[in-house]
């Protein structure tokens, strides 16, 4: 009744929500005089707080903290990086606080909330100056590798006490992060395994390289032995030289034959003094002999063989090559080219 009571009269008719918006001061005064707040809490009581660890499974550590309706999601991602020059045996923590538009009707996309950078700075100040995390524990190899922890906190619902909830979720996420040392040992194991594997690969590669090197010098090698094994034709004493057009006749053939037979005798006399040398000499002699006593039928067979090996359909090209270079030279060339292909992983 009367003017001063007009709002009071309205309150009995007006919705509570409307009263709260129209006369906020009176609304709160009404409650606070009874030492109670609009949601029924006494002045000194906090809202119900819950923490859920491991909310984000893909992150190394995460937590979801709720104080009443205020919800904060914190996630930690760890990466290895090189430490800075000023602190070579310390890791690093980067803290970021985001308020996406989902959290409040006053936050719009593209325009960050005013309190977001403030809370972000306060969080990083608090976490770094309190000494909560010992950065030296994040170091892996002094001066070369250290952990970098990216802490991202997302506000999903802004209903007051933002800094409290954000700090709670950050601390919970760090506690959930798990022992960093486990990661360290796993990485060291990986490094050791990789080193071992590299050594094996290097050995294989070295063997292949040395084989090719020997082959290129024209000397004997296990590749020669392979070749020898493939051609089980006996030593052909009968020489039939058919001079075809363009074929290069090896001039030293007769002489070689004589020499080689002499050498043969010599070797037999020397006998088992150096088996390897004998074997090699015999192989050399055999090769030369084979090169020299290649009859016409062998050329055809050689061309067909080579075509098959090189997967070359145009055999006339090989005949031309034989005509230009001669069979033995062409044979050597093919061997040089073909073997490395076998060593490489077959991509064809």
């Amino acid at each position: 009744m009367g003017l001063p009571d007009a709002p009071g009269d309205l309150s009995s008719e007006v919705d509570v929500d409307a009263f709260r918006r129209l006369f906020p001061l009176r609304f709160y005064e009404r409650h606070l005089t009874e030492s109670i707040r609009p949601d029924g809490r006494p002045l000194g009581r906090a809202r119900d707080t819950t923490i859920a660890l491991g909310a984000v499974t893909s992150a190394e550590g995460s937590a979801l903290a709720k104080i009443g309706s205020t919800t904060m999601l914190a996630a930690i991602k760890m990466e290895v990086m090189t430490p800075s020059m000023d602190s070579p045996d310390e890791g690093c923590i980067a803290i970021d606080f985001h308020m996406p538009p989902i959290c409040s009707p006053i936050v719009r996309p593209g325009r960050p909330a005013e309190i977001a950078p403030v809370v972000s700075k306060q969080l990083s100040d608090t976490i770094s100056s309190s000494g909560m995390i010992n950065l030296k524990e994040l170091s892996l190899v002094s001066g070369k590798a250290a952990w970098m922890a990216y802490l991202d906190i997302y506000c999903l619902d802004a209903d007051g006490a933002l800094f409290d909830a954000a700090l709670l979720s950050a601390v919970a996420a760090f506690s959930h992060c798990g022992p960093v040392l486990a990661y360290t040992s796993a990485i060291q194991d990986c490094v050791a395994l990789t080193r071992q594997r590299m050594k094996e690969l290097q050995k294989i590669l070295d063997e292949a390289n040395s084989a090719i090197a020997v082959l290129m010098e024209g000397g004997d090698s296990l590749l020669d032995a392979i070749y020898e094994e493939d051609n089980l034709e006996g030593i052909d004493d009968v020489e039939m030289l058919d001079v075809e057009e363009g074929e290069v006749v090896e001039p030293n053939l007769h002489n070689e034959k004589g020499k080689s037979s002499g050498g043969d005798v010599n070797l037999e006399i020397q006998g088992s003094q150096s088996k390897n040398r004998g074997l090699r000499a015999r192989k050399k002699k055999n090769r030369r002999k084979k090169g020299g006593s290649r009859p016409v039928t062998d050329i055809n067979r050689f061309v067909l063989d080579t075509c098959r090996r090189l997967k070359e359909r145009k055999s006339y090209m090989l005949y031309t090559a034989v005509g230009c270079l001669g069979v033995s030279a062409l044979n050597d060339l093919v061997k040089e080219v073909h073997i490395p292909f076998n060593l490489l992983p077959s991509a064809v």
């Binding site: 005013e114 309190i115 950078p117 403030v118 700075k121 100040d125 309190s130 000494g131």
Partner: protein, 243 residues
């Protein structure tokens, strides 16, 4: 338990204070505050029509823009803006000019420790220079806590960085009033024992923090007299200024 300070001051000794007002021509109010080597310049542009979005239109709004000496504006500047804004909001009488915006621009000239308290002091003086209605003035001070538990006032930048923790505190100015003594007390304590703003950096125990409060309160009494003395003689010259 005497602690040696680099510039030879005692623990409770403040750096030489200097305050000058009305230095900028175009601004409605301006002031510069110097504490040793830390210098801050503040300009105030009096009430403009309209409030920012999401601000209460039934009250006057204060907008703070913090400009660092060098570098880009980042989170640190935003934090300082928010702290200065909230401090000034509590000393201004906001109901007098509703739905207006008062801009306070803070320019850091040099930072040698105790930057935020220096800025708040300067902003206060600038508001007085602009004639914005205030409930009372605010006096800000910075206290540093050494490892030994010793508290020193008004640290330089080197001291701030090397100490365990520091706290900046803003107290209301002591009031000289014609009203009787008793009416100024709030719950039995004089008004200047209240704390407007308090911020800490680093880890300190509760007892250390309360010690800082005590020391800070004692020192602000001196600062209040300096501020008052500085403001008084210039009042006569302000009458010629156009609003």
């Amino acid at each position: 338990m005497e602690i040696d300070r680099l510039d030879g001051r005692k623990a409770n000794q403040l750096r030489p204070l200097a305050c000058s007002r009305n230095i900028l021509n175009r601004a409605h109010g301006s002031a510069s505050w110097t504490q040793g080597d830390t210098k801050v310049l503040v300009a105030v542009y009096g009430p403009k029509a309209g409030t920012k979005k999401n601000e209460n239109p039934e009250k006057a709004c204060i907008e703070v823009i913090w400009k660092p000496k060098s570098g880009q504006i980042g989170k640190l500047e935003r934090e300082h803006e928010m702290i200065v804004k909230r401090t000034l909001q509590s000393i201004c009488i906001l109901n007098i000019n509703p739905n207006t915006t008062t801009s306070v621009i803070v320019q850091v000239i040099n930072d040698d420790g105790a930057l935020l308290p220096c800025a708040i002091n300067a902003a206060c003086a600038a508001l007085v220079d602009a004639g914005i209605p205030l409930k009372h003035l605010a006096v800000a001070i910075c206290c540093c806590l050494a490892d030994s538990g010793y508290i020193i006032l008004d640290p330089t930048k080197l001291e701030e960085q090397s100490m365990k923790a520091y706290a900046y505190l803003v107290f209301p100015n002591s009031i000289l009033s014609v009203r009787p003594e008793g009416s100024l007390k709030v719950q039995g304590e004089p008004m200047e024992h209240g704390v407007i703003t308090s911020g800490t950096q680093g880890a300190m125990s509760v007892d250390d923090y309360l010690n800082c409060l005590e020391r800070g309160r004692a020192a602000t009494a001196k600062m209040s007299t300096v501020l008052r003395r500085n403001l008084q003689p210039q009042i006569a010259s302000d009458l010629s200024k156009a609003g």
